[in-house]
Symmetry: C2
Subunit: 237 residues, 2 copies
Amino acid sequence: MNSKHAALLLTESYKQHAQHYLAVDCTILGYEDGELKLLLYPRGFEPAFGSWSLMGGFVQQNESMEAAAMRVLLQTTGLKDIYLDQVAAFSDPNRDPGARVISMTFMALIRIDKHDKDLVRENGAHWWPVTKLPPMIFDHHQMFEKSLDLLQQKASTGLIGRELLPDRFTLMQLRNLYEAIFQRTFDPGNFRKKILSLNVLERLNVKNTTESKKGAYYYQFKKDISDQKNDRIVKFG
Amino acid sequence: MNSKHAALLLTESYKQHAQHYLAVDCTILGYEDGELKLLLYPRGFEPAFGSWSLMGGFVQQNESMEAAAMRVLLQTTGLKDIYLDQVAAFSDPNRDPGARVISMTFMALIRIDKHDKDLVRENGAHWWPVTKLPPMIFDHHQMFEKSLDLLQQKASTGLIGRELLPDRFTLMQLRNLYEAIFQRTFDPGNFRKKILSLNVLERLNVKNTTESKKGAYYYQFKKDISDQKNDRIVKFG
DNA sequence: CCAAAAGTGTTGCTTGTACACCCATGT
DNA sequence: ACATGGGTGTACAAGCAACACTTTTGG
């Protein structure tokens, strides 16, 4: 297009352009039994009927992508006000063999214990440990990988856990979450010192005695902290 | 489509959904005269005719977003094989008063000296120092901000410069680039040591004498290095 | 000679990392 | 008693940051 030509065109000029189906696909991540888990459901229509797929939906006419993702999450988990992050857009013309669909991936972090289990079961959905994922349709595995990258990056530069752990948790539980996210171990003592030095957690005067004989103090996130960025939480070897 | 049957099924299940105009907007960044600069051009059609805007274009029917961004860049700068990164999608239903357009922002890094200046001039475009940007249309300033965030992040975790500097450059030029990106100063000695310790540059036996009396060695990026990630280049105070 | 950048060295401080070590307690 | 995790401390290494200092050369 050359600019002199374009300059003559008015708003109606939008009409000459192609329109596209636009979808959102959500990598819904939760933490349960010491494992990071991804919610997948069997696709309900062709092509690839029955194959495992991320939760997704189409963006409607008067809806932002974020709103569409929220809608999908509400419909599938019954949860509102969920932590959401744009991950990446996938727009290869042939990514979906059925039609030309562009999809934006969102990462959602939820507390598995809080979601509507019946609703999830109704959809035939299943929580898969991220270490043992089944084959997925189209580019959904790439979507997951990018989401995990983003999660790791977020967990490195800020303390993650608010969205994945219960209100109160022990430092061991937090460490186990980090170990699940990074798929490696952290020195318990060093982890404790690093996390506490960030000054975003407060200790409660209650102990959890179910996971250790001695009992470990519960911690919770400080209320006022506005998700500040700390550089490099994860640098342990 | 591979099979009429599949196409029919698909039409049925996808047809009910809305379709959208999809655009790409490029934050084209270059480095010149010690400043980081953004290429903007006066919008050629209503609404907001004449206001400054990022380079953009619509995604066509059989084109990925990346391909669309490449096309825009070729048309406006004459450059191929440009470094591109997805930044973020903007999908507020009212972001463009002219029509419902969803836009993906791409960040492009180019060498100002290599682009087609006539082509840029022809479009009425202008390179603006990022510290003195004019008002821009719609959400384009947000797009720029997100792009700059991404650039800073990239410059922190890896050595940036390949795409913005000439083939050979002095460490002072590289430092000036970093100072432009982060809008702060770096200690010359420490910067030098840090950068060289990354082991991605090689020194040439040629000196630049235009910027200092003593003359400074030229460096270039090692050929084989596959853009490895180094953690935390920027941590200087 | 002076200014200005190139380039090297030194020193103090912070932080990561690998441990050792005692504590509390359920089995 | 002992295994297990809780919690603290120590010691070494690595890296950052501030800054001193020497070199080179054009004006």
